[in-house]
Symmetry: C2
Subunit: 261 residues, 2 copies
DNA sequence: CGGGCAATTGATGCCTATCAACGGGTGTGG
DNA sequence: CCACACCCGTTGATAGGCATCAATTGCCCG
């Protein structure tokens, strides 16, 4: 881990404030969806070519976010949704005493911030787990544009609905699975998302700590660690810290489905 | 409980199929949002008067749903969202073996079915817990109308975002609260929703079984029952089956906040 | 009156949280 | 340059909370 990374991860919670972050001079780099290598994963996914070209008119600003920095924080005014270009983020909910619950992880091509629309303020905090780059999508502009395009309107609505469905499955997990099922489910999900991005689905590097995985899965970090060890002993995985190799995908899937049949 | 109610609740899962249900002749009764007594809770909430009048043009169909009937089922094509006019619904996710996990309860003025948009098919099943009445809102028509009204567009998007935020808090509950905190949280939530509807916030009748509450809160029905008994012993509640009286709201709130400070 | 379901309560065991100790890696400061 | 602090991850011992199995009551209805 680089010096900058460690500094940021261990700093009092955020390295520079998001307000400060956004106060920077406007990004000089902008992105065109039509020529983006992520267009099959990201906002344009499922759109017709003409509609994607309309998106180009918005010239989404690109920004870098260093590991440990917050992209936005719960309570801040909502104006922008974000698409991950590179790197990994965690979204977390903060409760009164400052403890956090991780509500999701976001990888390249995934959108963040849709939960801010309800109250006009961000409902969660997005933190980079490694140096990352994002597209900033001004929500107002996107709405104006989609007023003139039923297709764009549909896609945006679908994205929000997909977020609801995603949370459904997390509720299933938190409500009715045991530790092994939870971790298996998590690993299979990561594996699929890696595959969709052209990476190996069977060997990857986790960007989050055991504590962050545990928070996401509703268990303690020690239990996460023990469950990893159990999977290794069962011959399902090879684990070296955050480096994971899936040795027996079918058995892992069976573990995950233990409660589903 | 009426004969019809019991019949329906104990029938092999649904009394008449939703397909059959929807194949009925078009409802003769339609509803105007502008003159609806629920307009401050429901879809029109937060809209300007002119926009609400535009909604009137859609003439939402009204339908009755008997206790135990499914309004829609997971996997069915998505065309319509629904607003509860009267009665209570549960939304549930079904896993492979037929077991269900309750993902929410809906009361008068609340919308259901927004999760169906993601895949074009309903992601959950909505079942009436008592005889109920709903407004059927054709999603296509709503989209057409909102293309011409940025205000309507905003409200619909906010409704979806609100659903995401609602699920956030359920994730917090499932991920980090113990049995007493979960049940306290549930009761306080019901209490607030009762109050918003002009009913007593301190004395009400639950429409769902202990098993349904347990499924929603990620615990077993026996634990729900025991936790109710514990609250009675602590003087927080009076409980007679499904009839609940909150005796010490502050203490209940403290229980709920035990993990939040 | 008997069958079936909802709810309650008791006894027991398991899963996971909790507390604790240790090793490895990395940055810091004497 | 090395001792030290700190964080991350792992593993062990123990305790506690909740699931599980089981029995009972009350209620509704056939």
């Amino acid at each position: 881990m680089s010096t900058a990374t460690l500094e940021a991860r261990t700093a009092p919670l955020h390295y520079i404030s998001p307000a400060e972050f956004r106060a920077r001079p406007a990004a000089t780099l902008t992105t065109l969806c039509s020529s983006c290598h992520l267009k099959d994963l990201c906002l344009p996914c499922g759109m017709s070519a003409p509609t994607v070209e309309r998106l180009d008119g918005l010239h989404f600003g690109r920004r870098r976010v260093k590991a440990g920095q917050a992209l936005y924080r719960a309570g801040e005014p909502f104006q922008t949704i974000y698409a991950v270009r590179s790197g990994t983020f965690k979204s977390s909910l903060t409760v009164a005493d400052g403890r956090e619950q991780v509500s999701g992880f976001s990888m390249a091509g995934e959108l963040m911030g849709l939960d801010g629309l309800a109250q006009g303020r961000h409902a969660s905090t997005a933190t980079a787990l490694e140096d990352a780059e994002i597209c900033a999508i001004p929500y107002d502009h996107l709405m104006e544009l989609s007023a003139g395009s039923s297709e764009l309107q549909r896609v945006v609505a679908q994205l929000m609905s997909r977020e609801i469905v995603r949370e459904h499955s997390l509720m299933l997990l938190l409500g009715s699975m045991n530790a092994e099922e939870r971790l298996a489910s998590f690993l299979l999900n990561i594996s699929q998302r890696m595959k969709a991005r052209g990476w190996s689905p069977s060997e990857f590097h986790l960007r989050m700590s055991r504590a962050e995985i545990g928070s996401y899965l509703g268990m303690k970090l020690e239990t996460v660690s023990r469950t990893f060890s159990a999977f290794v002993q069962q011959g399902l995985l090879a684990v070296d810290k955050r480096h994971i190799r899936i040795l027996d995908l079918e058995a892992l899937t069976r573990t995950f489905e233990a409660r589903l049949q």
